[in-house]
């Protein structure tokens, strides 16, 4: 047992950390899906853009300005995407909105390709969270320890927000029944914008933590973590925030254990096997609610 722990502890630690980062992205997916019934394919790319903004911001500005700037820019980007690409399609078929999301993702990736000239951009070293620490005899970065704590803290704050504020109540109402809540006088557009703002805020925080572990950002950096976070959201039951967080931690840990076992080729594929298994066994995910179609 202790042998296993020693061999796998670094992977478990990384797994928890990566899981926390996925969780922060997954919340954005799950909240948007809960309200708009839309897989926001562009969310992973928003996450990538946050990474790039950080690269460019730190090139000319000190850290204490760059970090808030990254968060503000990401939130603004999310807001604009919703207003420009999703709002006009509110009454369109679901497939159109999803295609629009794919289009936005394509646009963001191509813009990133243009601005970076296709070269990997070296991610800056953020003081403190990039520092090395030693846990149980394993050397790791501070971010590994910070991520789970910060994630849980943010999730608790978010849950309180949704439970006790007026906006939170409106969000819950909209996710239960879009049309009726509109009739009840809820300003649907501001609720949706707010959802995107929260989602992008968390994605920005996630990107700060995620990219610290990597050397550089490339235009497709967001695609894989985005997809995995979405799988986490489905796994936990789409629309459920605790579900997304638990799903993300499970995926993060499993993925890193598989890497640790020497099956790196399959670490990405595993996530999708998990997805298909859960979709077949319990399509609504662990915490999802069952919905019946009316005939």
């Amino acid at each position: 047992m202790s042998g296993f722990l020693n061999a796998y502890l670094p992977h478990i630690l990384t797994g928890i950390s990566v899981g926390g980062q996925y969780a922060l992205i997954a919340i954005g997916y799950t909240m948007v899906y809960g309200i708009l019934r839309l897989i926001n394919f562009a969310h992973g790319d928003v996450f990538m853009v946050a990474g790039l903004v950080m690269v460019y911001a730190t090139a000319s500005m000190p850290m204490y300005i760059s970090i808030p700037l990254v968060i503000i820019a990401t939130v603004l980007l999310g807001f604009v995407i919703e207003r420009v690409a999703y709002k006009p399609l509110r009454s369109a078929p679901r497939m159109s909105v999803m295609i629009s999301a794919i289009g936005v993702s394509y646009l963001l990736q191509n813009c990133a390709l243009y601005f970076t000239g296709g070269l990997p951009q070296t991610y800056p070293v953020i003081p403190f969270i990039s520092d090395s620490v030693t846990v149980f005899g394993q050397t790791t970065k501070m971010v590994t320890l910070i991520t789970p704590v910060l994630t849980l803290l943010l999730v608790v704050i978010l849950s309180l927000l949704i439970k006790y504020t007026k906006m939170g109540m409106a969000m819950r109402a909209v996710s239960k029944d879009f049309e009726t809540s509109q009739l009840m006088g809820i300003k649907i557009n501001s609720v949706i914008s707010f959802t995107f703002i929260i989602g992008c805020f968390l994605a920005a925080v996630g990107s700060l933590l995620y990219f610290t572990n990597y050397q550089s950002v490339i235009p497709t950096s967001g695609a894989m973590p985005g997809l995995k976070a979405f799988v986490a959201a489905v796994f936990g039951g789409i629309g459920s925030i605790p579900g997304a967080v638990i799903g993300a931690f499970i995926i993060g840990i499993c993925e890193n254990l598989i890497k640790g076992a020497g099956w790196t080729t399959f670490s990405d594929a595993f996530t999708f096997v998990l997805l298909i298994v859960i979709l077949l066994a319990k399509p609504t995910g662990i915490f999802g609610e069952k919905a019946t179609d009316k005939v």
């Binding site: 679901r94 295609i99 289009g103 191509n110 997809l227 999708f272």
Partner: protein
Amino acid sequence: MTKIEQKKSKKGTWIALCCIAALYVLLFLIDNVFPSTSFIVMLTPVLKKGAIYSLLCVSMNLLNGFTGLFSLGQAGFMLIGAYTYAIFTIPVAEHMSVYQYFDGGAIQFSIPEAIGSILGPTGGAFFGSIIAIILAGCVAAVFAALIGIPVLRLKSDYLAIATLGFVEIIRAVFQWNSLGVITNGSNQLRKYTAFSDMKLTIGGATLKFGTIFPFLIVMLCIIVIVLLINSSYGRAFKAIRDDEVAAEAMGISLFKHKMLSFVISCFFAGVGGALLAMFQTTIKAQSFTSAMTYEILLMVVIGGIGSVSGSCIAAFLYIACSEWWLRFLDSGKFLGLSVPFFRDGFRKVVFSVVIMIIVLFFSRGIMGDRELSFSGIAGGVKKLSGRLKKKDIEEKEDTGNE
């Protein structure tokens, strides 16, 4: 149908057949007679790739546009097709160099060579690759059937994400070292039969068929798809798209028909993948990403979901723009002036903005769910060769309806 209409349609068919013949003569001239000016050098790959993407778009449209199944697995089935094709057409003598890390691989067999031993090298390359292409489609279809059993029960966006997941799984499996003796692991496959091998030597003169070959295969495939769409089964697919509950209540087995549509669509995706492999001359599992699927999906949207001719037009336009017409945006110059923001990648930015505009404001695409008809063309616009080719299929469709 009145006599006049019949006459008109007959005339239309004749004109369409003439157009096709003209197209093929033109393609033949491009292959063999025209000098290699920069224009021809740019045009040929665009034509080939445009034809291949037409097929890929139409096959995706069959599933997404006509059956209403939002699947994002296209790239995965293309990968299966491309690999099947490549594995079975690499000449045995080249195995040692291609599979250099896997002792020459496990499969010591090449279809073109086997056929070639009977029909000679030309016949071997031609018929051998056709057999390999069909095999590629069949293998993709078998995989589709296996994957379809679990995932086709899922609804709209869940189906999309599950098929997307399968692409990633397939990609990982094909890069797996333990299967390297067959798939060459994460290394590329090369030296298999490509379009440039489609040539015939008669008495010292060499006739090339590198451009005609993909057009022939693609046209045959699209004709089959159009025939299917206009058959009783095609109507059942549309019924499922319009209202699943009503379709089921009218005796249409959802599972059976969704499966049929999925398997057939994937068969043609596999064929398309094989053709793409022929076009690229080397393939690597890594490059069949979901971004490839998205690109095809966007072409389908531009052409109009539910329109075969729209898909073809869009495929040619998309390829021509991205590979040719919009290249100047990357060159740093415009009309002789140097424009600093016209640099690498700008083309793609402009392109994706245009796509977004189409998605948002012209969501019906070029053709909506209508098809290009002869009268529309006779009206005056004779544009791309792709359109002309499509018209023939149009006419066949009309005759099928009578």
